[in-house]
Amino acid sequence: MAQAEAFETDFWKDANLRKAWDGIVPGAPRATIPYTLTREAIELYCRSVGEDHPIYFDEAYAKTTRYGGLIAPPSIHILLMFSCTPADDWMRSPGTVNAGQSWSYNIPARPNDVITLQARALDKFIKRERLFVVHDNVFFNQHGDVICSGRGWTIRPE
């Protein structure tokens, strides 16, 4: 797994460096890092959810479509959330439970796009004794165009 080789897959490592619920400040930006989206990473993601549409794999076909070339599936932001954040990002805290997400899509990400992320916690609250954080996120390509924007609700580990 080419992309996993350069990525720390042990989320326990550096766990003590990540902010817990008490230390997360709504409104404060999260640190992010640019990420070059490869065709290989898109194809691996497609395989994991059974995406088999030729617009993701067949360049000759993709050129005949409205997009004029290969694109990534809209839900590629699932990968981008982790590839565009550093190891001490609190989204990696073991025990983080995803409660739901909403995403809006503007233009597709494409192979070799250099993706950047603007992200922050937007809100935090306690409900039924559980510690929630709302996070919002906008992904851009190298031209500054919005690819997609989204909001998520996670239950934080105690």
Binding site: S48, P94, Q101, P157
Partner: protein, 144 residues
């Protein structure tokens, strides 16, 4: 018959493909998404309690549901020249290895705005016993 904005009606359904969940499919999603949360990998960790919840073993990523719903929507929209514009989901029940899940959608309404045409869709994912594991809403644009 190709889907078109004009011929769609509230109550029309969209069926996504079934997806067999296994330890291997969950591990593949870890590698593809870079989400290596031990919720999805570590049996010993999952013996513990999470507040009031005990999952009893590793669980599938909630976002795997999201990816399956998104796949259903794009596979439905592309042949019609339509564009998947929004998806909101909530996870209702954990999904575990051995489950088989399937996304579906039901057209809720259509709306025309100044510059385009929109279809609103209720989406859900059910497991092999028919239980809802995820619900949500989607918007697909049919450009003029």
């Amino acid at each position: 018959m190709t889907t078109s904005f004009e011929t769609l009606n509230a109550g029309d359904s969209i069926d996504g493909p079934k997806f067999a969940v296994s330890r291997e499919s969950i591990r593949l999603f870890c590698d593809a998404s870079l989400d290596y949360n031990p919720l999805h990998l570590d049996d010993d960790y999952m013996k513990g309690n999470f507040g009031k919840t005990n999952f009893g073993g590793i669980i599938m990523h909630g976002m795997n549901n999201f990816g399956l719903i998104s796949r259903m929507l794009t596979d439905w929209a592309y042949p019609a020249g339509a564009i998947h514009r929004r998806l909101e989901t909530r996870w209702v029940k954990p999904v575990k290895p051995g489950d088989t899940i399937q996304p579906t959608g039901i057209i809720k309404s259509k709306q025309v705005t100044k510059n385009s045409r929109w279809v609103l869709i209720d989406v859900m994912v059910r497991n092999q016993t028919g239980e809802k594991v995820a619900t949500g809403e989607a918007m697909v644009e049919f450009p003029n």
